[in-house]
């Protein structure tokens, strides 16, 4: 069957998609990134850590097929294999949905670690979709991460929260606590970037945000209608018809796997043209 695929040992890389602030695009990004990785041939699983809410299943379009969830597995009510939902579009993509009925405390460090260890045996990439905030659920999502994608909008409270999350990543994770381990590799994914508003000076530009956060940039995702469409139909944006957003996510995914991809940032190629022509004030 897929013997040649199976023979290659799994990479087992754990990547958390986190942000602090809510509604910035974590789940959208977790769906797009995991689908993008799978599309490139990597065995990928995406886990919903947002216990009590469960949104990833809808974004991935598998909401009608959920039987068991992450918490069932942690509590021993179901085996991991039974809870994993195999994506219908990409055979090397799986989804581990979360529970709607339990509370966040059901996520124990030991339970999460056991599930992740088992997934590492089979998957190249394990994408953890974090809940908003910096409480227990978010901490569990980031604790075992090798890498972090800090989803940030070019907006003051989002940047501030990203900064706090970067602080937690460098102190409250297993890698931070283990002597001699490399730090969690954190990168910023700037989403909902609106070139017109950057141009008019209403929105901070990419450089502004990076200067403040001082971590590498994984990519810039434009504000895009394609995102709403994709979520309406339950398809990760990279599996829907091509758009600026899907392109931007695909570039980000390639950077995540270590490829060098030139950064194309809409609207930030002609620095200051409008400023020079019209000035900043009214």
């Amino acid at each position: 069957m897929t013997a040649d695929l199976k023979e290659k040992p799994a990479l087992g890389r754990v990547i958390v998609i986190t942000s602090g602030k809510g509604g910035v695009g974590k789940t959208t990004s977790a769906a797009a990134i995991s689908a993008g990785l799978a599309k490139q041939g990597h065995r990928t699983v995406v886990i919903d850590f947002d216990v009590g809410l469960r949104n990833l299943d809808m974004t991935m379009g598998c909401e009608r097929r959920v039987v068991f969830d992450f918490i069932n597995v942690i509590q021993g009510d179901a085996r991991l294999k039974q809870a994993l939902i195999r994506d219908k579009r990409l055979e090397n993509l799986s989804i581990l949905p979360t529970s709607q009925t339990r509370d966040k405390d059901a996520l124990t460090k030991e339970g999460v670690e056991k599930v992740l260890d088992e997934l590492k045996q089979e998957f190249d990439y394990i994408i953890c979709d974090s809940p908003a905030g910096i409480e227990h659920g978010a901490q569990m999502a980031m604790y075992f991460a090798d890498e972090a994608v800090v989803v940030t909008n070019p907006e003051v409270s989002s940047v501030r929260d990203s900064d706090r999350v970067l602080g937690l990543l460098s102190s409250q994770t297993k890698r931070a606590e283990s002597e001699g381990a490399d730090a969690v590799k954190a990168q910023v994914l700037l989403t909902r970037h609106d070139p017109a508003r950057v141009e008019s000076g209403e929105m901070m530009n990419v450089e502004d945000v990076l200067e403040i956060l001082a971590v590498p940039l994984l990519g810039v995702i434009p504000e895009s209608q394609a995102i709403l469409r994709a979520s309406n139909i339950g398809t990760p944006v990279v599996l829907d018809q091509p758009s600026a957003a899907s392109k931007a996510y695909e570039d980000a995914v390639r950077r995540l796997t270590g490829e060098e991809v030139e950064m194309r940032i809409a609207g930030e190629r002609r620095p200051g043209l409008f400023h020079r022509l019209f000035g900043r004030a009214s």
Binding site: M58, E63, R64, R65, V67, Q82, I233, G234
Partner: protein, 93 residues
């Protein structure tokens, strides 16, 4: 109120329709569970019962039963796969 209301309606993206359909199906199931999202809660127990029932006749492991579900508008289907030990089934090599 909206001057462009007509044009908007004409061009109403079909994806919005899909979103509404998906939500209606999902929420109907979630609400019917009594509590929020309670619907699927019996599945772990159902699975345990199935394993026990089959074990009265055949020796199977807990992982040999697989439960899949597909929720639909009119009906949902529950698919239960039981992997039986090879002495019972045909000896496929």
């Amino acid at each position: 109120m909206n001057l462009f209301g007509f044009a908007r309606k004409q061009r109403r993206a079909r994806s919005a329709e899909t979103a509404k359909d998906r939500l209606q199906i999902l929420l109907a199931h979630e609400r019917s569970g009594g509590g929020r999202g309670g619907e699927a809660d019996y599945l772990p127990m159902l699975q345990r019962d199935i394993v026990e029932a089959i074990r009265k006749y055949v020796s199977i492991g807990e992982t040999d039963v697989e439960v899949r579900m597909e929720r639909g508008e009119q009906m949902s289907s529950l698919e239960i796969n039981v992997e039986l030990p090879s002495e019972v089934g045909s000896k496929a090599g």
